[in-house]
């Protein structure tokens, strides 16, 4: 196989990773937004356990189907993250940042998969568990999603650093993408406030602690996927 063909294979791999990222957004919209009712949130942190059970019981089927789609969406994070790491690897003489990215990708994917597990278990038999167990699962799902700032923020920073540190001509992505990743990490940060509030903008259904990190996260995936498609174009595909 000639060198040009190998590059074409890399281009195709990047396209696969980019489209996996885009698919994960679509699956999340189906599974997390439309069916799963994760965002806009059906539940609230100041709901009593009985109210939560009642709300879940009324939406049990759509939440179950939603969690199936969430599972697919979150598993695709692994493919998406590996694509960014592979492209980053190309600017490194000896791999470093690309390895760290892969670690964060693996951690982030696992944390996200646990969100889907919690969602599935909440809707599995809401009437049979103790109501406080259901409440615990709801808290657990949102804590996994937004309280895990260092994992997802760290991931973004490990993408930003190599972009900003290598000379511009060798950078794996345009320099502004580096700044964008730093900004994304900043936007995830308010998620850690959910521990301290049970109502208002900083609680797990609030605009600052839930909406801001969630919207930022999926927009971040979208931008990075577009950038991977751009990079793929440069590799003869």
């Amino acid at each position: 196989m000639s060198g040009v063909d190998r590059d074409a294979l890399f281009g195709r791999t990047l396209r696969l990773c980019a489209w996996s990222g885009i698919a994960s957004i679509i699956f999340f919209v189906i599974g997390g937004v439309i069916l799963g009712r994760m965002i806009p949130p059906l539940l609230a942190p100041n709901d009593s356990a009985d109210i939560m059970v009642q709300k879940i019981s009324e939406n049990v089927m759509s939440m179950r189907v939603g969690s199936v789609f969430q599972m697919i969406s979150f598993a695709l994070f692994a493919v998406y993250g590996a694509g960014i790491a592979a492209q980053t690897r190309r600017c490194e003489r000896s791999p470093g940042f690309s390895y760290i990215q892969l670690m964060f990708t693996a951690c982030g994917t696992l944390v996200a998969l646990l969100v889907a597990f919690s969602w599935a278990l909440m809707s599995f038999r809401p009437g049979e568990y103790e109501p406080t167990v259901i409440q615990y699962l709801a808290d657990y799902a949102y804590f996994l999603a937004v309280y895990s700032v260092p994992v997802f923020g760290g991931w973004c920073l490990m993408i930003a650093l190599p972009i900003l540190m290598v000379p511009e001509a060798e950078a794996p992505f345009p320099r502004w993408v580096g700044y964008l990743n730093v900004w994304a990490a900043v936007l995830f940060a308010p998620g850690q406030m959910v521990l301290f509030f049970k109502s208002g903008p900083f609680s797990w259904n609030g605009i600052v602690a839930l909406w801001l990190p969630f919207v930022a996260f999926f927009l971040w995936i979208l931008v990075m996927c577009i950038m991977m498609l751009e990079a793929a174009k440069r590799h003869g595909n």
Binding site: V182, V186, L212
Partner: protein, 198 residues
């Protein structure tokens, strides 16, 4: 020679062209951050309308002196940073480093002042749990303080760069860091108005 004027800057000076200070990426970050803080300001304004009485009472419990002195510290710091970048552009690295050191002291003063203000409040039994005004006050000031700390780290790196001959990439970093510090200043002025003045 202590400091070289980077070639890109020299070319710009010859041709008299205007160049974007820093680089495009830092401006994306700045406008992105401003957009998020706009959301924060809307939240404060909304709560202010809904709970006007609570907000008026709580506002009177804030120490205006702390707010004003912090504003002056950041404004002075911003001025010093701008002055230092200008010095650096004219190859006066040592003066620039001195200016940045003073700016760092202003920033550190801000952090200490904020700590004193918060410990006063917490000592008096006022916490984020007191009411919605103090919840917003503590959280948004904390997010801003996080910006100040990042900005101070940038200023320290900028100062270290000033003492060596600088290249185009160094100047880009220094300008970007200065822009970020101005953003930190701007955000504080808006927070100061919202929490202490209105």
């Amino acid at each position: 020679m202590a400091t070289d004027v980077p070639s890109a800057l020299a070319v710009e000076q010859v041709h008299g062209q205007r160049r974007l200070p820093g680089e495009m990426g830092i401006w994306i970050f700045v406008f992105g951050d401003l957009a998020v803080f706009t959301l924060f300001f809307v939240l404060v304004a909304q709560a202010n309308v809904q709970q006007n009485e609570v907000f008026q009472q709580s506002r009177r419990m804030l120490d205006f002196g702390h707010g004003l002195s912090n504003t002056l510290l950041l404004l002075t710091g911003s001025w010093l940073v701008a002055l230092s970048v200008e010095k650096l552009r004219h190859g006066r690295g040592k003066q620039a480093a001195r200016g940045l050191l003073l700016a760092i002291l202003c920033g550190a003063g801000f952090v200490i002042n904020k700590m004193v203000e918060w410990s006063d409040k917490i000592g008096a039994g006022i916490t984020p749990a007191t009411n919605d005004f103090f919840m917003l006050f503590f959280v948004f000031c904390a997010i801003h303080l996080f910006h100040v700390v990042i900005g101070l780290a940038c200023l320290l790196i900028m100062r270290a760069k000033c003492t060596r001959p600088i290249g185009v990439a160094d100047l880009r970093f220094i300008e970007s860091g200065a822009i970020f510090w101005h953003l930190v200043d701007l955000l504080w002025i808006l927070l100061f108005c919202l929490f202490y003045l209105i």
